[in-house]
Symmetry: C2
């Protein structure tokens, strides 16, 4: 099982996504999580995460549901990651359509025996997204 | 082993505190974490946490190092918690001097066979405190 993401401020939506990803592989599956590098996030979104990549990786690795958490490649290298981790399933989140398209393209092109599964959105609204969470934090600080 | 805290935005400082707390009890110890209720935080700090109590509890419970995470009592009731969990050690964080004093007082008064251990500060500066983290988040939003 492979799942990927930024996991900037770890929240319940992340946890549900990872738990659900693990379930898709059955009880004995191993869940490997690829953590997006700071540079990759910066290139894609125009700004970097609040928490540095190694700290994001360590916190995800500390979750019981996660068997291994590794940093992504500096240069996005999907095929490299897929060949290294050799997952049978790649799980993508409800908000990861770009990643889903890219993974599906590589799998088809290379004829890899990998399924792509989309995990639906979880958790109470307002707490299932890092950006909404950041807005809540900023508001709370402004009020105080 | 018992440790307690708010754990509002889970970060590496929290994880290190919990890992270190678990270590103090030896390899076979069980770590029970008491999560401060929203109301308790509000009464003590004049404002509540960003993340609601049940979500904070679930995320802490999902850490491999944590055996059980429970919500505190609505009315602060240290003696009740200590009698329920029956820890041999209570670990307090570097920034939990008030809790440390209160726990020590109850233990002495009741003659309970419990040690109190202070865990030192961990993690890179700026990422080992929820309030510093919140400031980083707010700054990052203002810049963008």
């Amino acid at each position: 099982m492979l799942a990927t993401g930024v996991f900037d401020l770890l929240h319940l939506g992340h946890l549900r996504f990872l738990e659900e990803s693990k379930k898709k592989g059955g009880p004995r599956s191993r869940l490997v999580v690829v953590i997006a590098r700071d540079n990759t996030v910066f290139r894609r979104k125009g700004k970097g995460p609040v928490i540095p990549e190694e700290q994001r990786r360590e916190l995800v690795a500390a979750l019981r549901v996660v068997d291994r958490a590794i940093l992504g490649r500096e240069e996005i290298d999907l095929l490299g990651i897929l060949k290294e981790v050799k997952p049978d399933i790649v799980c993508v989140g409800y908000d990861q359509d770009e990643i889903r398209a890219a993974v599906t393209r590589v799998i088809k092109r290379e004829g890899l025996p990998i399924r792509v599964i989309r995990i639906r959105r979880f958790g109470p609204t307002g707490f299932n997204s890092s950006s909404k969470l950041k807005n809540r934090v900023a508001k709370a600080l402004l009020v105080s």
